[in-house]
């Protein structure tokens, strides 16, 4: 216990040290303060921006897009994974597809999506779904594979029907792996949507960063950037902690 606490403390110290180093480098002028804002000013810029409310609209836009993409990806991916798992032939057929899916930078489809669906929320949602769904499918397959056969046998001895076996035995047994997939899906959806907004879009947090960059407004740029990074890290940490709680109970010795 004390070792893990030391690790956490050292980790915090390392991060704080890096931030302090950057601050000093900027202040002394080794890093051009015109290019990189000192961290203290980044925080100030972020607070100003949040206070002024100029990011409010972008936030609503971006978070609702990510939420929608994530929700669709989880539903589609879990369902799709379950179907593929149930049909071995189908699984063999799409195995190579899944294996190379993340080798292709999904993001390059974005221009096509924009051409197809216009420059609104829809292509971003589709992009998010495209980047997140396969992760859910893969983790669903892994989760279902990982259900110990003996638990299915117990379900039969207890004379549960198909639906109850799925709901009461298979799903809880597969949950830790499913959760891992959901976690990845959230970060993939987040990365996809924000990258889309950043490269080619007319609204959202990603857009406000690239807009600030194009108009040489580095305070606005760093403020929005820091906010996005903090939100992403916060969301991931939350899921990480939750997953840890879930897993701790069941870790088998």
């Amino acid at each position: 216990m004390s070792r893990s606490r030391t690790v956490i403390l050292v980790r915090a110290a390392v991060l704080a040290g890096l931030v302090a180093l950057l601050e000093v480098l900027c202040r002394v002028g080794i890093v051009d303060p015109m290019a990189v804002l000192p961290p203290s000013e980044m925080v100030g810029a972020m607070i100003d921006q949040l206070r002024s409310g100029e990011l409010d609209e972008s936030m609503v836009q971006t978070f609702s897009t990510i939420g929608l993409a994530f929700g669709v990806a989880v539903a589609l991916g879990t369902l799709g994974g379950a179907v593929v798992h149930a049909v071995p032939r189908l699984r063999r057929a799409i195995d190579p597809l899944l294996a190379s899916y993340y080798a292709v930078p999904t993001f390059i489809f974005y221009p096509l999506l924009v051409a197809l669906l216009g420059l609104g929320k829809l292509p971003l949602v589709v992009l998010g779904v495209l980047s997140a769904t396969p992760a859910v499918v893969i983790s669903t397959l892994a989760g279902l594979d990982g259900v110990p056969p003996v638990l299915r046998k117990v379900a039969r001895v207890q004379r549960l029907g198909r639906a109850r076996t799925l709901w009461l035995v298979v799903l809880p047994a597969a949950l830790p792996r499913l959760f891992g997939g959901f976690k990845l899906a959230l970060s993939y959806a987040l990365i996809g949507v924000i990258a889309g907004e950043f490269i080619l879009s007319g609204s959202g947090l990603g857009y406000s960063i690239s807009f600030a960059y194009q108009s040489f407004d580095s305070r606005a740029m760093y403020g929005a950037m820091l906010f996005v990074l903090l939100v992403a890290v916060g969301a991931n940490t939350l899921l990480y902690v939750w997953e840890g709680r879930l897993a701790r109970r069941r870790l088998r010795t």
């Binding site: 039969r156 549960l160 809880p172």
Partner: protein, 272 residues
Amino acid sequence: MTGGVGDIAVMEEPHASLRGVVRRYGGAQPVHALGPVDLDLRRGEFFSVVGPSGCGKSTLLDVLSGLGRPTGGTVSFEGAELGGEVPDGVGVVFQEDASFPWLTVRDNVAFGLRRTGLDGRETARRVEHAIGFMGLGQFAAHYPAQLSGGMRQRVCIARTLVMQPRLILLDEPFGALDQQTRLLMGDELLRLWRETGATVLLITHALDEAAMLSDRVGVMSARPGRFIDLLETGWPRERDSRVVSDPAFGALTSRLWSSLRTESLKTMGRAA
């Protein structure tokens, strides 16, 4: 003496019986795993099956429980033929840890009862009784991950027990446990058997376990598994692990071993 086991129990209607049961597995290299096997289990007896590894002991349990269908022959329980389903009144304890890691001990034990339509108070009473009976009282709120292997196996036994099965099938339930724990679990099993009055079929690879616990022991041959010997131990119903110091115990285990030695050598690819 293949297939002659059933003749002994002609007087009474058998509790469960196998008639000419054969199990083959298909595939690229077909395997003849079991049989033909005939077996009658007497109501309320403690029957053990021993045999060399890979002889089809687990297949026998699969077929008898209704988890698997035989390729040939018939299986019946309480007079009714099995049809690919586990019938009501049969409980199975597996060798692997089959406790549900997402449920507490209490919820694990209550798992089956919650779906029987039994009223809440009766459910709780039976669950607490099973938990107490298996000595899990102080762990009722624990998750399986917090328990040792032996304790988890107790959870699985309690989960079976609470359904009040009339036939309990155990597939090497203590296979993964150390010797001392095995002996103690054996005593628990005897106590359970006496109190519930259920018929028990225990599959084991431990000759001493079979000799100590059973009324009768069936010895199986190397694959395809058939019964090659059958022993009546003659132990009184009130017995426990102390029978190991009885001179008869040594005679029993040595007879079991002499029946098994040839078969075990066969599975290791050697002539006797």
